[in-house]
């Protein structure tokens, strides 16, 4: 069954003279296990699309089915459940909770999923170890570099082992070695059959995906299956 199914989705910000058409009719199907990269110039609507896919925002018009369910029909509690159990979301701007340690940030989705404290701590530490930050577990966001914060955000998205991973430039602030670490994690997730949608500006990151979508001015300019180039 199709995981993501959006039909003629538009998104308009603002009113009157300040109106911005961020998305101008985007239609897209993503099947389970696909590894999709989205590219496009700055302001082309990538984050806007991703926020809608992550159930964080709603489209101005158009339809969005997640696992065959129309998201607009879900109430607050059901949406919370979807965000918590189905989706792992990595924000472009990290969005860690300030004055809260890395491990506590990573634990958060597990807490809302009702996982017991000890189990939560264990899994959060495993996730942090996976992104190479085991030794920074007790640090608060303002004590971490941009790249480290980004990796905490990745760990937080993966800790619930979601079937769908949505990552908005997860390697935007990373050096080539850290980028490689993160991409290898995504490779593993892909191998395990998870669905991944990732936004990037780097062609070599996009080359790891099985499908490449280019956005231009709020519309899909190209959508091609490609052979994955593994490092």
């Amino acid at each position: 069954m199709t995981v993501l199914d959006i039909r003629a989705v538009t998104k308009v910000y603002g009113e009157g003279a300040a109106t911005v058409h961020a998305l101008r009719g985007v239609s897209l199907d993503v099947e389970p296990g696909e590894y999709v990269a989205i590219m496009g110039s700055s302001g082309s609507g990538k984050s806007t699309l991703m926020n809608i896919l992550g159930c964080l925002d709603i489209p101005t018009a158009g339809r969005y089915l997640l696992d065959g369910v129309d998201v607009s029909r879900l109430n607050d509690r059901q949406l919370a459940l979807v965000r918590n159990r189905r989706i792992g979301f990595v924000f472009q701007s990290f969005n860690l909770i300030p004055r809260t340690t890395a491990v506590a940030n990573v634990e958060l989705p597990l807490a809302y999923a009702g996982v017991k404290a000890a189990e939560r701590r264990r899994r959060a530490l495993v996730a942090l170890d996976m992104v190479g930050l085991a030794d920074r577990a007790g640090h608060e966001p303002n004590q971490l570099s941009g790249g480290q914060q980004q990796r905490v955000a990745v760990a937080r998205a993966l800790v619930t082992e979601p079937a769908l991973v949505l990552a908005d430039e997860p390697t935007g602030n990373l050096d080539s070695r850290s980028t490689e670490d993160i991409l290898r994690i995504f490779d593993d997730l892909h191998a395990a059959g998870r669905t991944i949608v990732l936004i990037t500006h780097e062609t070599d990151v996009a080359a790891r995906a099985s499908r490449l979508i280019r956005l231009f001015d709020g519309q899909i300019a190209s959508d091609v299956q490609q052979d994955r180039i593994l490092a």
Partner: protein
Amino acid sequence: MSLFEVLRFAVRGIGANKLRSGLTMLGILIGVAAVILLVAVGNGSAQQVADRIEALGTKTLTVQGTGGGQVLTPAVAQALHDPVLAPDVTSVSPVVSTQATLTYQGTDHAVQQFVGSYPSYFGASNSPVGTGAAFTDDDVAQGRRVVVIGKTVADELFPGTAAVGKELTVSGALFTVVGVLDEKSSASGFMDANDLAIAPLTAVQQTLTGYGAYNSIVVEAASSAKVADAQSQVSLILSQRVQVPAGSTSQPYRIQNASQLLETQTETADTFTTLLGAVAGISLLVGGIGITNIMLVTVTERTREIGIRKALGAPRRVILTQFLAEATMLSLLGGGLGVAAALIGSRFTIVGVRPVIVPSSIALALCVSVAIGLFFGSVPANRAARLRPIDALRYE
């Protein structure tokens, strides 16, 4: 997610912003403590007035000369003692009083009131003699220089030794101490009720005041129920005996009973309490504005935080519970500390007044502060929790 977990989140939220939490709590603490304490001070002073009137006795009338003329003469005092015209008067005690310096073996003590009167004054003024004895009618008749002193005087002049039998000097005259008064509750903040000396009227007139008019005449009624009757009898006699001076319309004396005194003084005390209450209300308001300010400043940050939590899958109910619990804990803790501070503060005398806590003021102050805390803690949280995660994240 269990309630216990949510509460743990709330505790962590408070701990994560120690300065903000501390300031919020401080605002509530000061507001609550100020209200409770100021109301307690007002109440305490009202209570003191009541005590003082009580101490005066409820069955006495005080006749005071006004206008400085020779009004309260011995003849007038004599006339009040009339079983036919004034059947409800049981005793009449003329009073002269002055300030004087008492000296004993080189120690000086300036006594606020050196009273000359009759032995009946002890009963009428509600000043029982503790050790020793009061002077007698015979002492008055003979003009013997004996004196009964208050507790403060005894402590000042004869610390650690028995006062009775000692001789002290008042303006060059030698007085023998025959008794010490029981300690009275120091009713007024401005006057020490135990700082006085009482001697036979004649002796005081001889040595200190001279034979002018009396300062006042204390009249004792048969019972508190008879005070009104006694007052009309006294006023009838006085109106016959005392001439209204030429060029004046009012009588040159004033008759007061304890309940009239109580009334005027209570009015004063009430004004005082109202004033303090207003000040307390203002401080609670200022505290509230402080809290509001802190809360509003942090709304942006908290709204973003709520956006993150929602994006990670927190339902609205869980978020609201957490923020409500945070606000409740903060305001309860601040309010509790405020009550504690007020209770501790009320053990000290403030501007000469022993504060007496009014229980309802505790309830009121706590309710108001908790309401403020809850309102400003939960309203922004409630609004933010309704936003779409992305809008909460973008909030500025």
